[in-house]
């Protein structure tokens, strides 16, 4: 069996030694602890005693050579039951082609290697075989962390993660000389994360530029539509103190209220109504639902209305615009970001579908489905909650016909859908039971006049009455 001896750390952290003199040569018989060499370290000249009894096999380095700790010095042929315990020596094609294991099978190093770095056959990696604690030799390999794969006690620290993405510094704003994280307090940061608010975009009202809880709540619900028309207010109870319940005004409700007030008292609202026979639309929907090629896509009334709205808006851009008081301009949008008002557990939110006008009916229907789900789960992100250009509110699901919806702040129009009712209607000169729906359009009278609003509404209604008329619009 071959036994190797590598240069150990001879004196507390010395990285190398110079060979002064070899006392033995290959072929010499050597006893345990017999002095085989003299080496000089930074501290002293030291005799190296042989760790093995045997015959010298190979000697590397000559007198005058500087040898690093861990480098091979000398090997011996020693007596030992090597053949019985060296499986790799006899079966080189055995399972693990690990060079370290192979080496261990054929030879025995003088000292058990401290497993600090992964063993490697690479000559650059100097694995120390010392046990004394000196400085570990530097490897030329790139520093690497140990792979983790076991059972982590805790997942990612959501507390810290919560802080980061929502404190992102706004990418633009060239006048911002310093890139500072927005100032806030830990609980407010968490709130921002929960509401999907980027603190970098929130105006701070607290002292010294600290963003407060109220700031975040207001910002989060800037786009909320207060479609309170569809929801009957609870009948006022007699206000004797013992029969009152007090609910603190905070959170989503507070922000929603603020947004509604802002909208209602900024834009002059006009609402106009039309009642239309939508039987053909219902038949279309039935047919589309029965079409096997459209399986999985739930196309409903809302999708058809949404499509009609997008088509009509292309011909009535004044209803797809924004009154920019500060800039003194009216912004006409070349796209439709269609918002759909949704009632969630936390209150009313109006997420929008970007570029809804570019989607065909099927895609639009799918997008509506996704939006509904996201809103229901409270996962609507800021991006979805902002940038809308026109909105639809479907209060018909609550069983009412018409309303006077409040505009989503910053938008020109909002279309309210009533319930689809089966009722007597004039049809081809006779009275028949038809599916009938009322559309309620509120618009900003600064951006559109009565005629424009009415014509838009009429066009939407025409598509619902005769879906084929959509082809006239675009």
């Amino acid at each position: 069996m071959i036994a190797e001896f590598r240069l150990p750390d001879l004196g507390e952290g010395l990285p190398e030694a110079e060979i002064v003199h070899w006392h033995v040569a290959p072929g010499d018989a050597v006893e345990l602890n017999q002095t085989i060499a003299e080496v000089e370290t930074a501290k002293a000249i030291v005799d190296l005693p042989s760790p093995f009894a045997g015959v010298v096999r190979e000697v590397r380095h000559s007198a005058g050579d500087v040898v690093a700790v861990g480098e091979f010095l000398i090997s011996f042929e020693v007596a030992g039951a090597a053949d019985a315990t060296a499986p790799d020596a006899t079966a080189p094609d055995a399972s693990a082609p690990d060079p370290h294991a192979a080496a261990a099978g054929q030879s025995r190093t003088a000292a058990p290697a401290e497993v600090s770095a992964a063993p490697s056959a690479d000559d650059d990696v100097q694995t120390p075989n010392l046990v004394g604690y000196g400085a570990a030799p530097r490897t030329s390999a790139r520093p690497q962390r140990r792979t983790r794969g076991g059972r982590p006690a805790a997942g990612a620290d959501t507390a810290v993660l919560a802080a980061a993405p929502h404190d992102a510094v706004a990418p633009s704003a060239p006048e911002q000389a310093r890139h500072e994280r927005p100032r806030s307090t830990p609980p407010v940061r968490k709130l921002a994360k929960d509401l999907g608010v980027d603190l970098a975009l929130v105006a701070a009202s607290g002292a010294h530029g600290v963003i407060t809880r109220a700031d975040v709540e207001a910002h989060a619900l800037r786009a909320v539509d207060g479609a309170s028309a569809g929801i009957a207010a609870p009948a006022p109870t007699e206000s004797t103190p013992s029969r009152e319940t007090r609910i603190p005004i905070r959170g989503v409700r507070k922000a929603t209220a603020a947004a509604m007030v802002r909208s209602a008292f900024t834009a002059p609202h006009v609402t106009t109504f039309v009642t239309v026979d939508v039987t053909e639309t219902m038949r279309l929907i039935e047919a589309l639902r029965a079409d096997r090629r459209l399986e999985g896509h739930r196309i409903g009334v809302l999708a058809v209305v949404a499509k009609a709205v997008c088509l009509a808006l292309s011909r009535h851009p004044e209803l797809n615009s924004h009154w920019d008081e500060q800039a003194g301009e009216i912004v006409r949008f070349g796209y439709v970001n269609l918002g759909i008002a949704a009632a969630t557990e936390r209150g009313l939110v109006v997420p929008n579908i970007k570029d809804a006008d570019a989607l065909d009916l099927v895609a639009l229907s799918d997008a509506l489905g996704d939006l509904a789900r996201v809103a229901r789960e409270g996962r609507a992100g800021l991006d979805q909650l902002s940038g809308g250009t026109f909105s639809i509110t479907n209060f018909g699901v609550f069983g009412v016909d018409a309303g006077t919806p409040i505009l989503n702040p910053g938008e020109a129009g909002i279309l309210g859908l009533g319930a689809v009712r089966r009722q007597p209607w004039e049809h081809e000169g006779a009275i028949a039971l038809r599916e009938v729906m009322t559309l309620s359009l509120s618009f900003d009278h600064r951006l559109a006049d009565g005629e424009q609003g009415s014509r838009f509404l009429r066009e939407v209604a025409d598509v619902l009455r005769e879906p084929g008329r959509a082809m006239l619009l675009r």
Binding site: A159, R178, E180, T185, P186, P187, K190, A207, H208
Partner: protein
Amino acid sequence: MTSIATGKASLTMGKALGAGLRRAMADDERVLVMGEDIGKLGGVFRITDGLLDEFGTARVIDTPLAESGIVGTAVGLALRGFRPVVEIQFDGFVYPAFDQIVCQVAKLHYRTRGRVRMPITIRIPWAGGVGAAEHHSESPEAYFVHTAGLRVVAVSNPQDAYTMLRQAIASDDPVVFFEPKRLYHSKGAVDLDAHIADAAPMGLARVMREGTDVTLLTYGAQVTTAMDAATAAEDEGLSLEVIDLRSLSPVDYRTVAASVRKTGRVIVTHEAAREAGVAAELIASITEQCFHYLEAPPLRVTGHDIPYPPAKLEKHHLPDLDRILDAVDRVLGRPNSFPEVTP
């Protein structure tokens, strides 16, 4: 021959400590007390008064003037199976014994993997506010808190002095036991029959006063100051929660964190200097555990980073009621003297 007091009494802290020692020595014949002037004189603060007459020179040892020697021989006595209670005459004199405390007392259990125990109690009359000469008003607790293997406690009232000293002596671990000398003569109720096994464990903090607005953490004589600050704050409609840590190693973070999560605002106050003091450690741990509950940065109200000043000037150094309330103002966002956070 032993005259162990029983029942409930109103005792000064000094007398309570003496009663505690007497009781511990009566309960366990392996308990010894040793130190300079503790026998015949009864100690420079009279804490050990009467013990020599009662227990004799075998168990009450007047030592040579050598702090390292006192602690080093205590190590040998502990190896022999005794439970030495060492008195370091004044806080500022503990430094010659520092090597024996840190290198030997603290480490022998660990380095022998549990075979050797060091049930040594090191009593240290501690801290200032008594108009003393130089080196007699030190607060060195941070050095010992930082040393693994030592337990560190600080008492703030006679009952704790009585009970916790007995608990410290009974503990198989070495305990550095800080006694605020400026409270040696203040009286309080002491239940002399208290069973140490039934009493609050030595490592537990105590909520001295419940409150909702700010958590005030402290220990030793500063507890009194903190309670005064809380009373004064009441007049301004503020509700401060005051916690006496009692144990500095380990710290009862369960009690502390529960309070911080409730109030969202925390101030740590101690007489010892600010830099790398015990407050720094507390705040690091509190921030880690209660980050999202914090409405304001945690603050420290401490001695300045100066050697303890001359007696006439010590009042400018000791963190008093006003400095504490200034910090309370700060954490509540009220006008205060703190300079603004520099951007």
